[in-house]
């Protein structure tokens, strides 16, 4: 089974939020210096799922990423974990694009690959939390998409069964291939790359494609970012003055009703 996995490089989500700065004038987030970006967590789950399917059914796993020069490290990490090939889309006009454009670019890249039976993506990226790109890819490629999923069963060359997470449980769906699945973190624990993998990744050749290669010159964004800022919240504490606890309780209830909270 030939699988394509889309990965995104994001700032390390373990960094405490207070360490991030926002440049309001440029509407940009500035992560703290000296902390390397990492592979998006959900994408790592997707890659792990792909590798396990490959161990089960054979085939090839190709990883695709859209991003600047540093995204190459994420692709290398994917190869170290066991991916067979990687493709890097790197073009200034595309690197900071919105979800729609990103989806178009990735779909175009995937179309250029030989053959695939399944596309696995993380359900969302941990920096933007949009959750749109993978669905957009499926639309562009005319594939059924199921997201977010926590389990894959009964995988064969034509179909597989998935558990899709819903608000109070999950659905079991049989999906005919080719298809696209959005993977959630409940699915698995991504593996740590063996040393041989790390060495192989260091030697790997990763082709770089531009917007021209994908036939995507002059793409306009559908979403415009107006303002990016950190909300300041103040906490005010008002202590209810009363002579007894029951009186305090009554006063508190009145206040809550006044504020239309109950």
């Amino acid at each position: 089974m030939d699988i394509v996995v889309t990965v995104k490089q994001v700032p390390d989500p373990d960094i405490p939020p207070t360490h991030f700065k926002v440049d309001e004038a440029a509407s940009k987030v500035i992560p703290p210096a000296g902390v390397a970006p990492v592979m998006n967590g959900y994408d790592a789950n997707a890659l792990e799922a792909a590798l396990r399917l490959k161990e089960q059914l054979g085939g090839k796993v190709t990883v695709v990423s859209l991003g600047g020069d540093s995204a190459r490290d994420t692709l290398k990490r994917a190869i170290a974990m066991g991916a067979d090939a990687a493709v890097h889309i790197n073009d200034p006009s595309l690197n900071e694009a919105d979800s729609t454009t990103t989806a178009r670019a990735l779909a175009a890249a995937i179309k250029k690959l030989d053959h695939f039976d399944l596309i696995l993506s993380g359900r969302q990226a941990s920096d933007t939390d949009g959750g749109q790109v993978h669905l957009g890819i499926a639309t562009h490629l005319g594939l059924p998409a199921v997201s977010p999923i926590q389990k894959i069963d009964d995988a064969s060359a034509d179909s597989l069964t998935v558990e899709r997470i819903i608000e109070d449980g999950y659905q079991r769906l049989k999906v005919r291939l080719p298809a696209l699945l959005g993977v959630s973190s409940e699915m698995n624990e991504p593996r740590y790359p063996p040393l041989k993998g790390i060495m192989a990744a260091g030697r790997a050749q990763i082709p770089v494609w531009t917007a021209a290669d994908l036939g995507l010159d002059g793409v306009a964004p559908r979403v415009v970012l107006r303002r990016l800022y950190v909300e300041t919240r103040e906490a005010k504490v008002e202590l209810i003055q009363a002579d007894s606890l029951s009186e305090a309780g009554t006063k508190l209830a009145d206040k809550l009703r006044e504020a239309r909270l109950v």
């Binding site: 390390d12 373990d14 960094i15 405490p16 360490h19 703290p32 210096a33 000296g34 902390v35 390397a36 990492v38 624990e189 991504p190 593996r191 740590y192 790359p193 063996p194 040393l195 041989k196 993998g197 790390i198 060495m199």
Partner: protein, 695 residues
């Protein structure tokens, strides 16, 4: 003229048979030890054997003086073995003396020395050592079967057989003497002072009955002796040869450093997945064990009911290795070259009738379980006690290396550890940029901000725990206060400091360790520190003993040594200690056993607190807190808690708290104190905190 007729009542046939049996014994010993030697040689290369003189001295000290056998806590066992060993050796020399007299001196030189004064002294001494031999054996039987020690709960038949044969030999030896003395009415009987009472008992019997009994005893003694010698290679007695060999071969300077994987990027194969992946010195390790169980006595995992029992690991791998050597195969048994081997059953892979037999046993998984490998805290209590210097910890780490570097099969918790070390240069998910935040508040400078680094006396290597963990930041602050009070010019590397790599290395991730180490060594070499002080024994050990492997040699001290030096030289004035407040001192494994720093922390406590409580398991017998070997980053799911075991010992010793010198110990004990609900009456303090409080 006191003497005896050599070979009284022994027929010619008996003697002829005796010499045939000598050839048989030599054949069996030659065969079996050659097989072992061939098996050892299948291991990888081992560094050249240097300092022969020192090695010989060490071996003789252990073998003859029993230097490692008789030590605190083991006086009974050490003396017991001394009696058995010297008893047997002297009795053996006695046999040689008789041989010299009968087969060399008389026939070739025509003179006899086995008479007169020589004979008297000889007999007095031989009887003494024969008696000591028997006493030693009885002490051993008592120890194994009557004392009910936990490590002897499961004894093998081999243990009983060995004791039985030796006792039989010792008893029949005296019996032979007594029977002869009685039957020949030897006037010199009293000088055979141990056999003499028995002689008196036998004196009434008919001489021909005595002679017949003598013949019977002579034959059974010879056959028992033959049985003993052919039993040696397939029993624990093999340690007679393999033990001293192992002592001779042990690395003389490898007290604390794990072996380096050189040129790691060019290697195809990592760690030990098969027995032949170990180097041949390590293979000798597996053979040297005679199951004394001292490695278990202070082992944290054995004593808390976890799967890892060092003795068992060594014995099982040793047995597996010996089965592969086909110790009992050969001309008499099936061939091993075309068949697979499972345990000691030989399996032909293509024979349909054996299709059900499982595959070849694997070292990791079948012989040694992965749980056992990950249980180890690398505390070295096993290696410290082993009389024949088996090195358990490097063997375990070698197998961990295979699991991590080659198979990528290891506990899930270590994935975050490795990822964090890679991304943040610390085992936690704190960004590296916040490493020096504690220092800003304490007024401690980072090296990068120091105008003239050459002026500094030392660099304080803070370590990950004291940099990021709130509880241990207090220790860093305390040490900073001490250094300032003593007017020591120092700085920290701060953001330029990365984890020394100890947890990665102990967990088997040698590659990650080397990456971290090389980064640190480059930085330290830039700054060329006069001295480095570390408040964490793991940092201390790695910086001091392991970085030289990669080109980083520095003068490194632990903060307890530094503080003691400051107090001694008068640079740090502490108020005279008045009250003893009953703190126990816990020896951190990486400070104590690994680096033999036992005294300085104690001297500090004496200066500042007027004393401390010495725990029963102290110094080289100290009981681990459970955090070493990257175990601090793994969950303790099996058995009981190691830290609780240690805390209960301290509480049992009526201590009001425990003084430690390691941030891992601090963390483990703080957690343990909370879990045991003794926060009110039991405190945990680092030595630096104790000193800083007194200033």
């Amino acid at each position: 003229m006191p003497t005896r007729q050599i070979g009284w009542n022994v027929g010619e046939i008996a003697f002829a048979v005796m010499y045939v049996l000598v050839a048989v014994q030599a054949l069996v010993l030659g065969y079996a030890f050659t097989r072992r030697y061939l098996m050892w040689r299948r291991g990888r290369d081992y560094a050249p054997i240097d300092r022969i003189g020192e090695r010989v001295r060490q071996t003789l000290a252990v073998a003859l003086l029993h230097r490692r056998l008789i030590r605190p806590g083991y006086r009974y066992a050490g003396v017991m073995h001394l009696f058995i060993f010297w008893g047997f050796v002297v009795l053996f020399i006695g046999t040689i003396i008789v041989l010299l007299e009968a087969d060399i001196a008389r026939p070739y030189f025509g003179f006899s020395f086995y008479q007169g004064t020589f004979y008297v002294v000889y007999k007095l001494v031989i009887n003494l050592f024969g008696l000591l031999f028997l006493i030693g054996l009885l002490m051993a039987a008592y120890r194994r079967y009557a004392q009910h020690l936990p490590k002897f709960r499961r004894s093998l038949s081999d243990d009983a057989i060995v004791l039985a044969i030796l006792l039989f030999l010792g008893v029949t030896g005296f019996l032979l003497e007594a029977l002869r003395l009685s039957a020949t009415r030897d006037a010199a009987a009293p000088i055979h002072w141990v056999a003499y009472p028995l002689t008196l008992v036998l004196n009434g019997a008919d001489p021909s009955v005595l002679a017949a009994a003598h013949t019977l005893t002579w034959w059974s003694h010879m056959l028992a002796n033959t049985a003993l010698l052919v039993y040696i290679p397939v029993s624990k007695l093999a340690h007679i040869f393999t033990g001293p060999t192992n002592v001779f071969l042990r690395a003389t300077d490898a007290r604390a450093a794990l072996p380096l994987i050189a040129n790691i990027e060019e290697q195809e194969h990592f760690g030990a997945a098969r027995v032949t992946d170990f180097n041949w010195k390590q293979l000798v390790n597996f053979d040297a064990c005679m199951r004394c169980g001292r490695c278990l006595d202070f082992c944290p995992t054995f004593n808390t009911g976890k799967p890892l029992k060092p003795r068992q690991l060594i014995v099982e791998v040793g047995a597996y290795m010996n089965r592969q050597a086909g110790l009992l195969a050969g001309p008499a048994g099936p061939r091993v070259d075309e068949a697979g081997v499972r345990g000691h059953e030989l399996v032909a892979p293509d024979e349909p009738r054996l299709a059900q037999v499982p595959r070849v046993a694997e070292l990791i998984g079948d012989v040694v379980s992965e749980d056992e490998l990950w249980d180890c805290t690398t505390c070295r209590a096993c290696m410290e006690q082993c009389p024949v210097r088996i090195e358990h910890v490097p063997l375990i780490v070698e197998m961990r290396r295979n699991l991590v570097l080659e198979q990528s099969r290891f506990p899930q918790e270590l994935v975050s550890l490795f990822n964090n070390l890679e991304r943040n240069a610390n085992p936690y998910s704190f960004p590296a940029s916040t490493r020096a935040d504690w220092a800003a508040a304490a007024g401690v400078q980072e090296l990068a901000a120091v105008a003239d680094p050459g002026e500094l006396e030392l660099i304080y290597w803070v370590g990950c725990m004291s940099s990021f963990d709130a509880r241990n930041q207090r220790v860093a602050n305390a040490l900073a206060k001490i250094l300032k009070t003593a007017e020591v010019k120092f700085a920290i590397l701060g953001k330029e400091e990365s984890c020394v790599g100890d947890p990665a290395r102990r967990a088997g991730n040698e590659y990650l360790y080397q990456l971290l180490a090389q980064t640190n060594i480059e930085r330290l070499n830039q700054y060329q520190p006069k001295r480095v002080v570390a408040s964490c024994p793991h940092c201390f050990n790695t910086l001091k003993n392991e970085y030289p492997q990669l080109g980083g040699s520095y003068e490194v001290v632990h903060h307890s040594q530094l503080i003691q030096g400051l107090i001694d030289s008068g640079r740090l004035k502490v108020p005279a200690a008045t009250l003893r407040d009953g703190f126990a001192y816990h020896d951190p494994c990486y400070l104590g056993r690994y680096n033999e720093v036992y005294d300085e922390p104690r001297e500090v406590l004496n200066s500042v607190r007027g004393g401390f409580v010495e725990l029963p398991r102290c110094r080289d017998r100290g009981f681990c807190c459970g955090a070493g070997g990257a175990r601090a980053f793994m969950e303790e799911k099996r058995g009981t808690r190691i830290s609780h075991n240690r805390l209960n010992e301290a509480i049992g010793a009526q201590a009001s708290g425990v003084a430690v010198a390691c941030p891992f110990c601090v963390t483990m004990f703080e957690d343990g104190v909370r879990a045991l609900n003794v926060e009110e009456r039991f405190a945990v303090r680092d030595i630096a905190e104790i000193v800083a409080e007194a200033l």
